[in-house]
Assembly symmetry: C2
Homo-oligomer: 418 residues x 2
């Protein structure tokens, strides 16, 4: 479900005409729906209610403070992957005991800060990291709460760049290493071993890879528990797919029902880490058509948003639906012709969509759908472009939740040499 719908041919975000947001804050603009964010959070929570889950929203998907704060107020925890995300989690008011921290490259400073803040747990990705955490906790006179990230060597059907549960990826530890470590946890006296973390990738649309993963987790937990090891957490990560084009992803309920039997057998307090599932379809990127460029080979709709604003099409060849904000019938460019929607950046990799049939003209607004996750959070200043503004529709109002950057922002911290 999402709250971007046409009413009398005008695209609305909840009850607000999208055009209003563009007029007020300019383009390119990220526009989010609070209702959609909340709805996705609540649906997932409800689907797993039998397990009383801690749902830790994955900050990297969309890390705007207003969005984090909105979800925290709903009861969400946060899944962080860096010191910068810990900083954001604090600013957004997230209780320390609802923060989980994954990343293959935690620095000493990051580990120290997270320990100091008393986060819920570290998702530990390797033995060298575990040693580092043990050392730092020892020096600080603390015990570090930890789940071991288990790499189940499962291949979900998604883009190679967002597959994280195959053994050739840098993530987690193989089953032997996890088992051995849990059974020999005395080697790490400053670590409080709480449980298992798995995360097999992102944008996964069916339950089978999750079921196969959890079956392996069950074997693992039964084995170590039979040897007297106590566990108190199972973190099943994120990865739930959403609709970008014509995917038919499982609903939260489908997913919960498919994995409930094995979760009941594992029988541990449950953590989930959804990112895209909550934020992906809760946002659009608004952009204006600058030029309709017809060449002998192709038509190009040159728009004012580029790969610096939205990297996914270029980096992952990701499909995003692009539609006009006004479905008016008046004077589209003639003759109709499929067009590449391209940005102003000086490389051919700068496109938002290819071969789209769109009845728009210069000056028209378009919406790029599914832009709520991995949109702004991957944006850059490439070509010295100022990063876009972000706005949120909530309770009948639009609020600017991130101001457009200024030219001075571009050169902040730079200095010439005499």
């Amino acid at each position: 479900m999402h709250s971007f719908t046409y009413r009398q041919q005008h695209l609305h975000c909840e009850d607000i005409p999208v055009r209003t947001a563009a007029e007020r804050f300019g383009t390119p603009l990220y526009l989010y729906s609070a209702e959609t964010l909340r709805d996705h959070y609540r649906k997932l929570h409800a689907a797993f209610r039998d397990f009383d889950p801690l749902i830790c929203y994955s900050v990297k998907a969309n890390s705007n403070l207003a969005i984090l704060n909105l979800l925290v107020r709903e009861g969400a925890g946060l899944d962080i992957v860096s010191g910068g995300e810990l900083f954001r989690a604090k600013k957004a008011g997230c209780p320390a005991e609802k923060i989980v921290y994954a990343s293959v490259g935690k620095t000493e400073e990051e580990i120290r800060d997270a320990l100091e803040y008393r986060i819920h747990m570290f998702n530990v990705e390797s033995i060298p990291e575990l040693r580092r955490i043990n050392e730092i906790a020892g020096e600080a006179g603390k015990r570090a709460p930890a789940a071991l990230r288990f790499n189940p060597d499962i291949q979900p059907d998604t883009h190679a760049y967002i597959t994280t549960g195959k053994k050739e990826t840098k993530f987690g530890m193989d089953i032997e290493t996890v088992r051995h470590t849990l059974l020999n946890q005395g080697e790490f006296p400053h670590v409080d071993f709480r449980g298992i973390h798995v995360h097999i990738g992102s944008q996964i649309t069916d339950a089978l890879p999750f079921q196969r993963t959890l079956q392996k987790v069950l074997e693992l937990t039964e084995h170590v528990q039979s040897k007297g090891i106590a566990l108190s957490a199972l973190n099943i990560g994120g990865g739930l797919g959403i609709v970008y084009e014509n995917e038919q992803p499982q609903t939260a309920d489908d997913f919960a029902q498919a994995v409930a039997p094995v979760l009941r057998k594992i029988n541990l307090p449950l953590i989930l880490e959804p990112g895209r599932f909550i934020a992906g379809n809760a946002g659009i990127l608004l952009t204006k058509v600058l030029y309709v460029k017809d060449t002998p080979a192709k038509r190009f709709l040159v728009v004012d948003a580029g790969m610096n604003d939205m990297l996914r099409p270029s980096l992952y060849r990701a499909y995003h639906e692009i539609l006009p904000v006004e479905q008016k019938k008046s004077e589209p460019c003639q003759p109709p012709r499929p067009a590449d929607v391209v940005g102003p950046i000086c490389e051919s990799g700068d496109f938002l969509g290819k071969n789209r049939t769109l009845t728009v003209n210069e000056g028209d607004l378009m919406a790029v759908f599914g832009a709520g996750a991995y949109g702004f959070s991957m944006s850059s200043n490439y070509n010295s472009r100022r990063r876009p503004a972000e706005a949120l529709v909530h309770e009948g109002k639009i609020s600017l939740i991130r101001k457009r950057e200024s030219e001075d922002d571009l050169i902040r911290h730079e200095q010439m040499v005499p």
Copy 2:
């Protein structure tokens, strides 16, 4: 040529041990050599000295103010592609008459500002853009200086994303459109038609595609000149390749000699737009090994620089040489094993190099070579990571030319809703 060399097994930037820069400013750190930047500029200028060229450095390659200023003081002009780059060009002290402005998506505001600043010329990419420029110039009571960007439909042997001279790309106009427009320039009374711009792509290592392009340009200029059209500029763009791995790119002299005959026939004042050629090998990215992670399938060197700091390996599958800063013999991880050099970012696309044989251990510094162009300029805050610092070695000193971002920088301009 570049100024990163080993002396007694320690990597130096000019006369400064690279380790000194890392100790002083931390990692990840971009480190540039002023000597190398100047050397590349001077070599290119010398190679084309018979043509008295205006060399407009391509700001998008590396837009740090200190680097722009250094090149401007050498006599360079600047090739810009956005309002933000115009802002930088002004700050860096570039004379307006040495600025050329390309981009398929110039906004009205950008055109107005550039016209106001009296830049040398616009590289015009389409007829709709030409109309827009004509209108805006008319309203401002000015004449807009312009070169028409000619798309020669030439395929250089480079990555598809940085190919820009094929007819299927969004850049420039086909030969018929350019010819017709030059012959009917009365339709655009507020445009001062100065000449032709071509730019066929980036990282091109041999002269043939340039020669074929210029041959087409010659036919074009001869034709329109025979009809009485006066021309005063030929901008041949950039695209000269550099060494990343085992390429054997043409030198500046080779290139100049290969294209000199046709340039003499065209016989127009010459502009070049080098970016990577000047900055690419003038910079390294310094990073520290956080963890050596051995798995049954692979070894990973987890370092403190990620795809947010350096996107090229992930986006273009670009190869960058990675070497230890200290070539010491002491205690590398045993047994030696080829390793993927990966960052801390939570996706499998986050790597700097694959299957590298490196004798390093945790805590060691490594240098990613060829990071001077399209390195920092494509960086982002993905995973809420603070963008790295940049430092420049010049005349025996190291200067910080961009301070590392702070945590507060991450959330600047954001605000929660009540």
